[in-house]
Amino acid sequence: MSQVGTAAGWEPTIVAFCCNWCSYAGADLAGISRLAYPASLRIIRVPCSGRVNPHFVLRAFQRGADGVLVAGCHPGDCHYTTGNYFTRRRYLLMQRLLEYAGVNPGRFEVKWISGSEGPKFAQAAREITARVRALGPNREMRDEA
């Protein structure tokens, strides 16, 4: 398979885990509002950001993802009351774990994006892509295929 966005050279692959209630809807709204963001960001739907196991993030990096975004409801607005608080707590641990594993923590981010925040979603997508693009391809953890 060829790389995405070949014309402009290398484009990073970003995996975004979006909770079904807020951030996935926010991404829908970004689309409905026709807000452009880099195509290299792809979304995996999860019921809640609290469902995202650190294992999934590591697996994404192993499989060659250049960046990972976890997006959930705003603190206090979680559809499941408290799920995103766990996400928030895990976020810091995750950053440290990645650093320990030699992955630049700038490749990983947690964002709170509600269902009405289409522009915020697009902005988040653009920001993480730009940051990861600056960091270059993930060579730290990817399995050699």
Binding site: V4, A30, R51, H79, G83, F86
Partner: protein, 1129 residues
């Protein structure tokens, strides 16, 4: 090997315009397990769905992937499609190549590439999908409606009419909400009460409705079909069932507070019914936390109670309230240091209420006219009690015990009873006749007082026991004057203050000719100085080592002393008494300055070296301190430092069982009211002791009651009123006699002063209502109760509150009486309202000639003071108000300052046209910048933006159309219910167009203004809609719950339960597993998921270290497969 079919949708040009659909189909065919792929113009259309159905059948597909729009749009559609041809809906998967791809990716190649990746991911997940079955859950066929305004009433009636039980919880004492406060309703001008009250009555009488008024929802557990709701039923203090609503109680209630129903324009009583047509019609007592006066009084005397009664002219009732805790109101009304006044909230408005003077007024007045109602003691008891000391502590104790029926004997060392009241406080402050009168009242209860009987001299504690006293209370006071500790103190003419005052009290002849120096700064010093003046002293000086601010004496006493001519010599201390011929000739003193603060927080006086000076004097009175004379303890009673008796601070029991002690003998020199408090406490403790209650029970019974009830906030618009001035004896008439100085308030002054009370406790607990209530349904000891009710569905109808426009300082609300809110105006129009339906200017009580309405106050304001939204009803009700003005005030002119007039409703535009054209209301397009007083009225500054000219409009009344706001605690309720709310605090509906009455939480529906501003027709429509939704749910026997729940692989589960605390629903339970390991039976604990409670968030799966718990539909395996596929390049 799976058999997957992939269907890629063009969605017309929506997808096809950006994504090369054939290329996606082509790619999909190469994915593992895909046996078929095709494209469709519109997959969601009937031909598209037919294609899926036929291919599933034809090719025996076992899984289907559709690549089209968001699953939030059509997942359900396609799940149903595949189900019709025998494929489990959970084997269906969707790739979102529209919202997440074609619509957000400008570049065609990139969009196609992304679409392929998304389809690959969906296929990868589909491979791992398992068939899942929704499982049935039972439904509790009962509905809960929260809020009893028109929305709640309508919804409850609609549900109940279908035969389903309905519980309505309303937090106010009556249902009706804001609609009950309205006069007329637009656009038909129906009388609001006429259309609402029949519905209220219907609701109360409905056999399927249970009305819980004055109750609040505290906690909600469970899930759709099965909620457990904890409701707090607030104490009403009135028995709902037996109250006939006669109103006899309110007629006697002395407390007036602003009525919520009348929007603060009129008063209500503390026991009240919000309005005559209230449902339920029973009364309610409104209690706040204990007011500061009561809280501060050492004896807990109910000051608010007697003050409130005085304000109503009920003096003998006031005296009865007073005497519940204090047998000596006439005495305390003269000599109390009244800490209650220091704490009085009125002090934050202007000056504290003169509580003490009111107290004195009550006692003096009622005693004088002899109208006091006698209090009868309880039936006589056998155990005799001895009280040693007849000061305020001893007598208060004797009084309380006598009321309980105990025979009491009081022993007094001095010739007459009263202790320090008689021998420490001079006649001009406390006439002996006043003292004797209240001591006689104690005697009349059967208390025997033996004078000239001193403990330790005339009898001993053992004697008392021998004489058959079952308990003893020692309250011998602190009668020993302390010396200054300087040379020469024993000279003639030098005496300690206690002795001096006692001699004055005993009436020993004294003629003081010359200068008297009193050393000390306490009340004894001041009393001695003022007495000396009356005994003929030429010159009286108080010598005190600190400054006036530090003098412990009551400041008003010091003021009077100075007024009478006593001189203060501050920052000086005696070094020696100058003695000439064995007689005092003066004091040698030294000047002091204030140094660092000492333990008491007062700055310590430090002598200034070399500053000695002589102060000639004929007499010296030393009033530096006093201590108890407890020689009688004699090793039997345990003493503390300074000779005070050791007693338990709660029970007052000494080291000898059955012997109690209190007052100054235990505390050291303190106040009269503290002594009375100790006497009361001792009486209680002795009663408990004699009834042989367990010590812990006694301690609990005697402990201070915790503060309960809602906090009181001082109203912002209390007018300042000067405090009553106590009339005093002319200065010229105070010489050479001990006539009482303070003359007492008259009835008019006392009642006016009492009316200054803010009623901080709201109900003053005077219990007049109790006496007035014939069916005896008032119970002041009622407590809140909680109850858990089970319901299947909840309708939230908590309504709105009008915004307080005080943030708009330029409009002067609260500062100018003629600026009112539209709800206040509405009450003014009500025929039963505070003005009986007349439109009047609050400042003058006369009708206004010109009225100006300001629209959008707090609405459409993105500054920090208001709300961005339009409140939707104000344009119409303002038009209505303008018409009402012109109907009721002939010739009146009305102005309406607006930004836009919005009339989207049936008959609304017609109504507005009529207001402006037929009635002639003058509409000015402009938002008002400022309202200011001008002459007799108000001047309003506004730009007519159509003419581009600033205008000044002189008007008599300004009405602010204030915004609708969510209830102040709406967000708290949202959290309890787990429903969403917007930035303003309105609850959010599941979909703004298609699911307007549902929330995102199953089984919970919305009705009325809690969801957003709306008028009555819209509110009622939404209420009926919510009712239908609730009925649709409750009429089912069972519900099908989502199969997306967690499950446990019991073999892997280590039983460490990390998953348990993380679950927000408490859905993870412990389960005992019996196994045989190596032939032996073993049990171990594993986690087990209660699928009724599990909502499928999956948080538990991350907490599990062994990977034993997994989420159906989103298993670790499914998600990892997606990750792998999405990363594939």
């Amino acid at each position: 090997m799976r058999r997957i079919g992939v269907f890629v949708c063009w969605c017309g040009a929506n997808i096809g315009g950006k994504v090369n659909v054939p290329a996606v189909v082509e790619a999909a065919r190469t994915f593992p397990n895909v046996v078929y792929a095709e494209d469709n113009k519109y997959t969601c259309s009937e031909p598209g769905q037919a294609a899926i159905r036929s291919k599933v059948t034809e090719l025996k597909l076992d899984r289907v992937v559709v690549a089209s729009c968001s699953p939030r749009m059509h997942e359900l559609t396609f799940q149903k499609t595949v189900e019709t041809v025998g494929v489990n809906p959970f084997l269906f998967e969707m790739a979102n190549i529209r919202e997440h791809c074609s619509w957000c990716t400008p570049d065609k190649a990139a969009a196609t590439e992304k679409a392929i990746a998304l389809v690959r991911t969906a296929v990868a997940k589909a491979v791992m999908n398992d068939p899942l079955q929704p499982f049935p859950i039972p439904v509790t066929p009962r509905a809960l409606v929260i809020g009893g305004g028109i929305a709640g009433i309508q919804a409850a009636l609609d549900v109940a009419d279908t035969g389903i039980e309905t519980v309505l919880v309303e937090r106010d004492p009556s249902i009706g909400g804001v609609m009950a406060q309205l006069d007329k309703t637009f656009p038909t001008l129906d009388c609001s009460a006429c259309i609402l009250t029949p519905k209220m009555v219907d609701l109360a009488r409905h056999p399927k409705v249970r009305l819980m008024s004055y109750a609040e929802v505290e906690e909600v557990k469970g899930f759709i079909g099965n909620f457990q709701v904890k409701v707090r039923r607030k104490a009403r203090y009135v028995d709902l069932k037996n109250c006939k609503g006669c109103g006899d109680c309110a007629a006697v209630c002395p407390v007036k507070v602003p009525s919520e129903y009348e929007a603060g324009l009129g008063p209500r009583t503390a026991i009240y019914r919000p309005f005559p047509q209230a449902v339920p019609g029973a009364f309610t007592i409104d209690k706040a936390e204990r007011p500061p006066c009561v809280r501060t009084c050492p004896a807990g005397v109910n000051a608010q109670g007697y003050v409130a009664l005085v304000s109503q002219g009920k003096f003998k009732e006031a005296l009865a309230v007073e005497k519940r805790q204090n047998p000596f109101p006439s005495i305390c009304g003269r000599v109390c240091n009244h800490p209650c006044e220091t704490e009085c909230n009125r002090g934050q408005v202007d000056v504290p209420v003169s509580i003490c003077a009111i107290k004195r007024f009550i006692a003096d007045t009622v005693y004088a006219d002899g109208s006091e109602e006698p209090v009868l003691p309880a039936s006589a008891k056998d155990e005799r009690v001895a009280v040693v000391g007849s000061g305020p502590a001893g007598l208060a104790c004797a009084h309380s015990l006598a009321l309980e029926g105990y025979p009491v004997t009081v022993f007094e060392a001095l010739p007459k009873p009263g202790g320090m009241l008689r021998y420490g406080i001079p006649e001009y402050r406390l006439p002996k006749a006043v003292l004797d009168r209240e001591i006689d009242q104690v005697r009349q209860l059967g208390v025997e007082i033996q004078t000239n009987a001193a403990l330790g001299k005339d009898f001993s504690l053992t004697d008392l026991k021998a004489r058959g006293y079952a308990a003893v209370f020692i309250a011998t006071g602190a009668h020993k004057g302390q010396s200054m500790g300087v040379p020469g103190e024993d000279a003639t003419g030098c005496v300690d203050g206690i002795t001096f005052l006692r001699d004055v009290g005993l009436g020993k002849p004294m003629d003081l000719d010359g200068r008297v120096v009193v050393v000390g700064g306490g009340n004894t010093a001041v009393d001695a100085a003022r007495s000396a003046l009356r005994l003929g002293a030429r010159d009286v000086i108080i010598l005190y080592r600190r400054t006036r601010a530090e003098m412990p004496a009551n400041s008003w006493e010091v003021d009077e002393a100075v007024h009478e001519g006593v001189k203060l010599h501050l920052l000086a201390a005696p070094v020696a008494v100058t003695v000439r011929n064995g007689r005092v000739a003066g004091l040698k003193c030294i000047r002091m300055e204030l140094g660092e603060p000492d333990a008491s927080g007062r700055r310590r006086p430090v002598p200034i070296a070399g500053s000695e000076f002589d102060l000639p004097a004929e007499y010296v009175v030393t009033a530096v301190s006093q201590s108890p004379d407890t020689g009688f303890a004699d090793g039997v009673l345990e003493l503390r430092r300074g000779g005070i008796i050791a007693a338990n601070p709660v029970t007052l029991q000494t080291s000898v069982p059955g012997v109690f002690a209190g007052g100054d003998a235990v505390k050291g020199p303190a106040t009269v009211v503290e002594a009375i408090a100790d006497g009361n406490r001792a009486a209680n403790a002795i009663g408990l002791y004699l009834r042989a209650e367990a010590p812990e029970a006694s301690a609990a019974a005697l402990a201070d009651q915790p503060q309960t009830g809602k906090p009181f906030t001082i109203p912002k618009d209390v007018a300042k009123v000067p405090r009553a001035v106590m009339p005093t004896l002319e200065l010229s008439r105070r010489r050479r006699n001990f006539t009482e100085v303070e003359l007492g308030l008259d009835a008019e002054a006392a009642m006016a002063e009492a009316a200054r009370c803010l009623n901080c406790g709201i109900c003053c607990e005077c219990r007049e209502c109790e006496r007035a209530c014939e069916p005896k349904c008032i119970d002041h000891s009622m407590q809140d109760e909680t109850e858990t009710i089970e319901v299947g569905s909840i309708i939230v109808a908590t309504g709105f509150k009008p915004m307080d426009p005080v943030a708009y300082g330029e409009y002067g609300y609260r500062r100018y009486p003629d600026v009112i809110t539209s709800l206040e105006f509405e009450r003014m129009c009500g025929a039963s309202g505070p003005t009986s339906g007349q439109i009047l200017r609050p400042s003058t009580g006369k009708p206004p000639h010109t009225v100006l309405f300001i629209q959008c106050v707090g609405s459409r304001d993105e500054g920090k003071r208001g709300h961005q939204y339009c409140s939707k009803t104000c344009c119409m009700y303002t038009a209505k108000h303008a018409e009402l003005v012109m109907d009721r005030v002939p010739g009146a002119t009305t102005y309406v300052c607006y930004m836009d007039v919005r009339t989207p409703g049936k008959g609304y535009e017609e109504f507005y046209r009529r207001t402006s054209e037929e009635y002639g209301a003058r509409y000015i397009r402009g938002r008002v910048a400022k309202v200011q007083p001008n002459g007799d009225g108000l001047r309003v500054r506004v730009e007519d933006t159509l003419a581009g000219r600033p205008l000044d409009v002189q008007v008599d009344l300004v009405v602010l159309a204030t915004a609708m706001e969510p209830q102040a605690d709406s967000m708290d309720l949202a959290r309890v219910l787990k429903v969403g709310y917007d930035a303003d605090g309105f609850f959010t509906e599941a979909h703004p167009k298609l699911r307007p009455v549902e929330t995102n939480t199953g089984g919970i529906f919305l009705a009325g203004t809690c969801q957003g501003p709306k008028d009555i027709p819209e509110t009622v429509a939404q209420a009926s809609a919510a009712a239908v939704k609730a009925v649709a749910l409750l009429s089912k026997d069972k519900l099908l719950a989502s199969p997306i729940v967690s499950y446990v692989n019991e073999t892997l589960c280590a039983g460490d339960f990390f998953c348990q605390p993380i679950c927000p629903y408490g859905a993870i339970e412990e389960k005992e597993l019996a196994e045989r390991i190596a032939g032996r039976p073993v049990t171990r604990k594993v986690a087990s998921v209660n699928t009724g409670l599990c909502q499928g968030c999956g948080a538990c799966t991350v907490a599990c270290r062994s990977g034993a718990i997994n989420l159906k539909g989103y298993t670790n395996e499914q998600l990892l497969a997606e990750v792998d596929a999405v990363c594939l390049k």
